[in-house]
Symmetry: none
Subunit: 101 residues, 2 copies
Amino acid sequence: MLGPMAALEIRPEEHAALVDGRPLSLTVRELRLLEALASHPQRIMTRSELYAEVWGRQPRADDRSVDVYVSRLRAKLGRALPRTRLIHTHNGIGYRFSPDG
Amino acid sequence: MLGPMAALEIRPEEHAALVDGRPLSLTVRELRLLEALASHPQRIMTRSELYAEVWGRQPRADDRSVDVYVSRLRAKLGRALPRTRLIHTHNGIGYRFSPDG
DNA sequence: TCCAGCTGTGAAAATCCTGTGAAAGCAGGG
DNA sequence: CCCTGCTTTCACAGGATTTTCACAGCTGGA
């Protein structure tokens, strides 16, 4: 039973992220980034940490892949969950996932 | 469940200052200033001391950066912890951090 | 082969941070 | 009260960082 705040559900073993029971159309990278973020709720994660979890290696010094995928994720999450911001930017550090927006 | 005295938690290694488990949106400078203040609780610190700890060098003679950032910090702390004043002014000297308001 | 979608990169556009000067506000002494 | 000096806050410009777009290479299926 989901509360009103728990609209997003992630099922890694099913390769799916659901909003109100409906799967989002996420690519593999997008889903794995979302998993990485959501598995450490309220924790500020650096780009290196996120990159390491998703790509399995250290990023180039000036790599911006994480930013680009965060942007793509936000676009899809934003369409499914308007007026809810789940991924927060921490300038100069990285990103943070907050389950309740 | 946190007691009323344990509302603010600082985790330098995670680049975070938490109130009730939720990170404040502090900039890097703001967080470092808070760390500098909080690492010497109840001690009156001069602007020079604070500036040296945060900026890593001596301030200009008439530098007011510390005051400005204290003001910004207070604004964000005040929103997260109303009716609690953690940073106290000591006129003509500097500032003092008091963990219990 | 052709097509559609995924991926990573460079770079432009948008946004945020930082430090400064200055105005406004406050505190204490006399 | 009234000064005076100190503190607080605002506004802004320059710089730094993030967000977004466009594209080229790649892959897998039709």
